[in-house]
C-alpha cells in the first residue's frame, strides 16, 4: 500500500431490501488530498459515506484507517472519535439550539465541571469568522438561512481534529462567494494533511479544487482517476455510462412560442418577507428568477402560491382571483409548488412513494373521493416509468430513495394534479447531470403544453437554457426583468444581479 494513504476501503457491500446499493466498492484516500466522489443519483455515493461513518452497518468489506488499522464504525460518534468528520447534504443541526451549542455539541469546553459558555461562544465566533461569517452565535440555528446553517455545519466538522473530512454535497445550498470561502478552508485543511472526500454534482467545482476522482455507477466502482487524466466529457460519460447529448441544444427544443394570454398575474403583492412586487407569466412561458441566496427568490414564489400569506396585492391565476394564504385554493386554481427545501417542505418521509405521489391529487379531489386502488397504481407506475424513478417498489418509503429520486417523486406529485402554472424552486439542487437535463427538458415540455412556469435555480446557465424572461432579485426585492436574446447571457444577468457595472 502507498505510504501516505489515510483511509482505505475495499470490497464494500451494502444491500437494502430490493436494492444492491454497493457491490464490491473500493476507495482510497491519501493525506493532503481532495478526492471527489462522483456518480449519478442512486450511484451509491451517499451510501458509501454512510457506511464509512457508521450510519449504516456494513454487509461486507473492510475499512482501514491510518494509525488504527482495520476499523468498524458502529455510529457517527465512533467515526468522529476515529477522526472522521462529516458534513451532510441535508443540514443536520438541532434547529432550536444555539449556534455555539451546535458547534460544540458533545465536547463543550468545561471549567470546573461546568460548561464554559464564554469560551464556547468565543471559540465559535472565531471559528465562524475564519469562514468569514459574522453572526450571533447565541441565537438558535433555526433563525438562519439554509446557507448559513450549512456553513455552521461545516464549521462544526472542521473544528474537530480530523484526519478525514467528508463533505457530502455541501455546496448545493451555497452561493458563489460562500463556495469560494469553503474552498479556501478546504485548501487550508489540505495543506495541513487532512484527507477530504468531496461529494458534489457541480463539475466546475470538482475541477477547481480536487486532485483525484472516484466514479461510482449503480453501486459499483467505475474507477479512480487523477484529475488531469479525466477531462469533463469523459467524466460525465463515465458517470452516465453513455455519451451525454449536448446540454446547449436544449434551448432549441422549444416547438411553440409563449402565448399572449397571461396565466398568472401578481399585482403589487407583498408579504412579511418580500417587498412589493409585480410579476406575470404567460401561457407557455418559462420565467426565471435570478438572484443570490437570500435575495428573496423563494419568498416571492411563496407569496404567489400562498405558502406565506400576502398582506397586500392580488394574485390572479387563469383569470381567477386567489385568496392569499390558502394553498388549497391556489392548488384548485391550477397552481403547483415544488418547494426549495425538499426535506422540510416536500417529502413526507415515512409514507410510500405511491402515497407521496398521490397526496396532492387526493387533497384536490377531496377526502371522500378516494382514488381507487387500480388507478392509484396505474398513475404511480406510469410516472415511475416516465421520470425513471429508481425505487424498489411503489410501496417503498420515500425516505429510502436518493435525493434526486425523491425530487422526481415530488415533481410527479404535482404533474398528477395537471396544473396550469408550476413553480419550481431549485428543482435540480443536489441532482446529477443526467436528471438535471431531464428536468430541464421537462420544463420546456410543460411550456410547449401551454403551461406557465416560474423556475428558480442557483445555476444561471440552467435558467438561460430554459427561460425566455428573467426576473432579477436583490436584497429581498424584485429589481427588474431581462428578456430578449441579446440580454439573456451570463454576464448581463450577473451584472443585473450585482446591480450594475460597479
Amino acid at each position: 500500500m502507498e505510504e501516505n494513504v489515510v483511509l482505505h476501503m475495499e470490497g464494500i457491500y451494502k444491500t437494502f431490501p430490493g436494492v444492491k446499493a454497493l457491490q464490491n466498492v473500493a476507495f482510497t484516500l491519501r493525506e493532503g488530498e481532495i478526492h471527489a466522489l462522483m456518480g449519478e443519483n442512486g450511484a451509491g455515493k451517499s451510501t458509501l459515506i454512510k457506511v464509512l461513518t457508521g450510519v449504516y452497518e456494513l454487509d461486507g468489506g473492510s475499512i482501514y484507517l491510518k494509525g488504527h488499522g482495520e476499523i468498524v464504525n458502529k455510529s457517527p460518534q465512533d467515526a468522529q472519535d476515529n477522526g472522521i468528520s462529516t458534513v451532510y447534504q441535508e443540514v443536520c443541526l438541532c434547529p432550536n439550539l444555539s449556534v455555539s451549542e451546535n458547534i460544540f455539541m458533545g465536547r463543550e469546553p468545561r471549567k470546573g465541571g461546568f460548561v464554559d459558555w464564554k469560551k464556547m461562544h468565543e471559540d465559535s465566533r472565531k471559528l465562524l469568522s475564519s469562514l468569514d461569517i459574522d453572526i450571533d452565535v447565541t441565537a438558535a440555528v433555526e433563525n438562519y438561512s439554509i446557507a448559513i446553517q450549512q456553513m455552521i455545519a461545516i464549521a462544526r466538522a472542521v473544528s474537530t481534529e480530523c484526519k478525514v473530512l467528508i463533505l457530502d454535497e455541501p455546496t448545493s445550498s451555497l452561493d458563489d462567494s460562500e463556495v469560494e470561502k469553503l474552498f479556501s478552508v478546504m485548501t487550508n485543511l489540505k495543506s495541513k494533511g487532512v484527507g477530504i472526500i468531496f461529494v458534489t454534482h457541480f463539475l466546475e467545482q470538482v475541477y477547481q479544487v480536487c486532485d483525484r476522482i472516484t466514479v461510482l455507477r449503480n453501486g459499483q466502482l467505475v474507477g479512480e482517476y487523477p484529475i488531469k487524466d479525466l477531462p469533463r466529457v469523459e467524466l460525465v460519460s463515465k458517470m452516465l455510462g453513455k455519451d451525454l447529448d449536448d446540454l446547449a441544444e436544449i434551448k432549441n427544443m422549444r416547438t411553440t412560442k409563449p402565448s399572449e394570454k397571461v396565466i398568472i398575474d401578481a399585482d403589487s403583492v407583498k408579504s412579511a418577507k418580500i417587498k412589493e412586487f409585480n410579476i406575470n407569466v404567460h401561457k407557455g412561458e418559462v420565467v426565471g428568477l435570478a438572484g443570490l441566496l437570500g435575495s428573496g427568490r423563494s419568498e416571492l414564489v411563496r407569496a404567489i402560491y400562498g405558502a406565506d400569506k400576502a398582506n397586500a396585492g392580488t394574485v390572479t391565476c387563469a383569470d381567477k382571483k386567489v385568496r392569499s394564504g390558502n394553498e388549497l385554493e391556489s392548488m384548485k386554481a391550477g397552481m403547483a409548488y415544488l418547494p426549495e427545501d425538499r426535506k422540510k417542505d416536500g417529502i413526507i418521509p415515512d409514507l410510500s412513494v405511491r402515497e407521496n405521489m398521490l397526496i396532492a391529487l387526493q387533497v384536490k379531489n377531496g377526502m371522500f373521493k378516494l382514488i381507487n386502488k387500480k388507478n392509484q397504481e396505474e398513475f404511480v407506475d406510469e410516472y415511475i416509468k416516465i421520470l425513471q424513478i429508481k425505487t424498489a417498489s411503489r410501496e417503498t418509503p420515500i425516505k429510502s430513495l436518493s435525493g434526486g429520486n425523491q425530487q422526481k417523486v415530488i415533481l410527479a406529485r404535482w404533474l398528477l394534479t395537471n396544473p396550469e402554472f408550476i413553480i419550481l424552486d431549485e428543482p435540480t439542487r443536489g441532482i446529477d447531470i443526467g436528471t438535471k437535463t431531464e428536468i430541464q427538458k421537462l420544463i420546456l415540455r410543460f411550456a410547449d403544453e401551454g403551461k406557465g412556469v416560474i423556475f428558480i435555480s442557483s445555476e444561471i446557465e440552467e435558467m438561460l437554457r430554459t427561460c425566455s424572461r428573467m426576473g432579477i432579485m436583490r436584497d429581498g426585492k424584485k429589481v427588474g426583468e431581462l428578456s430578449g436574446e441579446e440580454n439573456l447571457n451570463v454576464s448581463s444577468v450577473m451584472k443585473a444581479i450585482a446591480g450594475g457595472e460597479k
Partner: protein, 356 residues
C-alpha cells in the same frame, strides 16, 4: 417443499402485526400452562361463560378507546390522557337525563336513545375542546388534555351532585351486559361495530392518508393543501366520541354513573395498547388493528393475573414487568440482536456442513 415452507414462514414473521400477535399468543400460552381449563367455554343460564369470553367482553371499552387514541397519536404525535375522565362525563350526562336528576330511579325519566346521544355528544364536546387546544392553540397534547383529565371527573361530580346515580331499569343494563336471548355480551358487538365503522372510514376515504401525512410532516402537508388544524381537530373529536361510547358501556355494566371510578386509569392502558400494537407514539403511520391486538393483550394479562390469584392492588407491578418484556421484544435493538444471532447460527451451520 421445505424451502417453500421456510419462505412462507419468513413472510409471516415479517408481517408487521406479527410481533403484537405473538405477544398476545405468549400471554395466552402462559394461561394454558397455569390454568389448563383456561379456554373452557360453556353456556350457563343461556349465556356464554368462560375466561376467553370474559377477556373479550372486558376489553371492549379499552378496544374502543384504543381506536380513538390511535388516531390522535398518529395525527398529533401526542396522547389524549383525558379519555377516562371523558368516559365519566358521558356516563354522568346520560344518567342525569335518564334519572331526571334523581339519585336512583326505577324507570326512565327521559327516553333512552336521546339520552345516550346527549351523553356521546358531551364526549364529542370534550374532544372538540381538546382538539381546539391542541390543533388551534398548539398546546402540547399532554398538557392540553391534562385539563380535562383533572377537571373531567369534577364536572361529572357536579352533574351527579356528588352521588352515584343508579338507573335500575333492565333495558339500560342490556348495553353493558346481555341482550335477552343473546348468549354473547353486548359490549363485544359494540366494540366490533366501532372497529369496523372506523376502519371503513379510515380506509375507504382519504382520511387515513391525510392523518398519516399530517402526522409525518405538517409543513409538507400544508403545501399540498391539507389543513392540519382541521385534521388534528377531527381526530380529537373522534376520540371524544369514542370515549363517550366507552363511557356508556362502562356505565351500563354497573347501571350507574360512578364519577370517581368509571374509566379510572384506562387512559394509560389505551396509550399502552397503541404502543403494544406496534404504533409509534411519535405519530405518522398507524395500524388500528395493531392497537386492538394491544388492547386484548392488556386485558388478557389483567384477567390472567386475577386468575393466578394476584390481588388487585399488586396487579400494576406484574403488569409493568410483562409490559417491559413485551415492549423490549418489539424494540429495534432487540430485533437487531436476533438478526445477528441468526446470522451466527447460519455461519456455524455452514461451517458444520463443510467439515462434515
Amino acid at each position: 417443499m421445505n424451502g417453500d415452507l421456510k419462505s412462507r414462514l419468513g413472510k409471516i414473521v415479517h408481517y408487521k402485526l406479527f410481533l403484537p400477535l405473538f405477544c398476545l399468543f405468549l400471554v395466552l400460552m402462559v394461561n394454558v400452562i397455569t390454568t389448563p381449563d383456561f379456554f373452557h367455554v360453556e353456556i350457563r343460564n343461556g349465556v356464554l361463560y368462560g375466561r376467553p369470553v370474559d377477556i373479550i367482553n372486558r376489553a371492549s371499552e379499552l378496544v374502543i378507546l384504543a381506536v380513538g387514541m390511535t388516531l390522535v397519536v398518529a395525527a398529533s404525535a401526542g396522547t389524549d390522557i383525558s379519555v377516562g375522565a371523558v368516559m365519566a362525563v358521558t356516563a354522568a350526562v346520560t344518567t342525569f337525563f335518564l334519572s331526571g336528576g334523581e339519585i336512583s330511579v326505577n324507570e326512565y325519566q327521559f327516553p333512552l336513545f336521546p339520552a345516550i346521544l346527549l351523553g356521546i355528544g358531551a364526549g364529542a364536546l370534550c374532544g372538540a375542546w381538546n382538539g381546539f387546544l391542541v390543533a388551534k392553540m398548539r398546546i402540547q397534547p399532554m398538557v392540553a388534555t391534562l385539563i380535562l383529565y383533572t377537571a373531567g371527573r369534577g364536572i361529572a361530580q357536579l352533574i351527579t351532585k356528588g352521588q352515584i346515580t343508579y338507573i335500575r331499569v333492565d333495558s339500560y343494563q342490556y348495553i353493558g351486559n346481555f341482550l335477552p336471548g343473546v348468549p354473547i355480551p353486548t359490549p363485544v358487538f359494540i366494540s366490533i361495530a366501532v372497529v369496523i365503522l372506523v376502519q371503513l372510514f379510515v380506509k375507504k376515504t382519504a382520511f387515513g392518508l391525510f392523518v398519516e401525512s399530517v402526522g409525518v410532516n405538517k409543513e409538507a402537508s400544508k403545501h399540498v393543501g391539507l389543513k392540519s388544524v382541521m385534521i388534528i381537530f377531527a381526530t380529537y373529536v373522534f376520540c371524544g366520541v369514542l370515549s363517550g361510547i366507552a363511557g356508556i358501556v362502562a356505565s351500563s355494566r354497573i347501571y350507574s354513573a360512578d364519577a370517581n371510578n368509571i374509566g379510572l386509569n384506562l387512559e394509560l392502558d389505551a396509550i399502552l395498547a397503541v404502543a403494544l400494537g406496534g404504533n409509534s407514539l411519535g405519530g405518522g403511520r398507524f395500524s388500528i388493528l395493531g392497537s386492538i391486538i394491544g388492547a386484548y393483550t392488556i386485558q388478557a394479562l389483567t384477567t390472567t393475573l386475577y386468575a393466578i390469584g394476584v390481588s388487585a392492588d399488586q396487579i400494576p407491578v406484574y403488569k409493568a414487568i410483562v409490559v417491559v418484556i413485551i415492549v423490549s421484544l418489539q424494540s429495534p435493538e432487540f430485533q437487531r440482536y436476533v438478526r445477528k444471532f441468526r446470522k451466527k447460527l447460519e455461519a456455524k451451520k455452514a461451517i458444520g456442513e463443510v467439515t462434515a
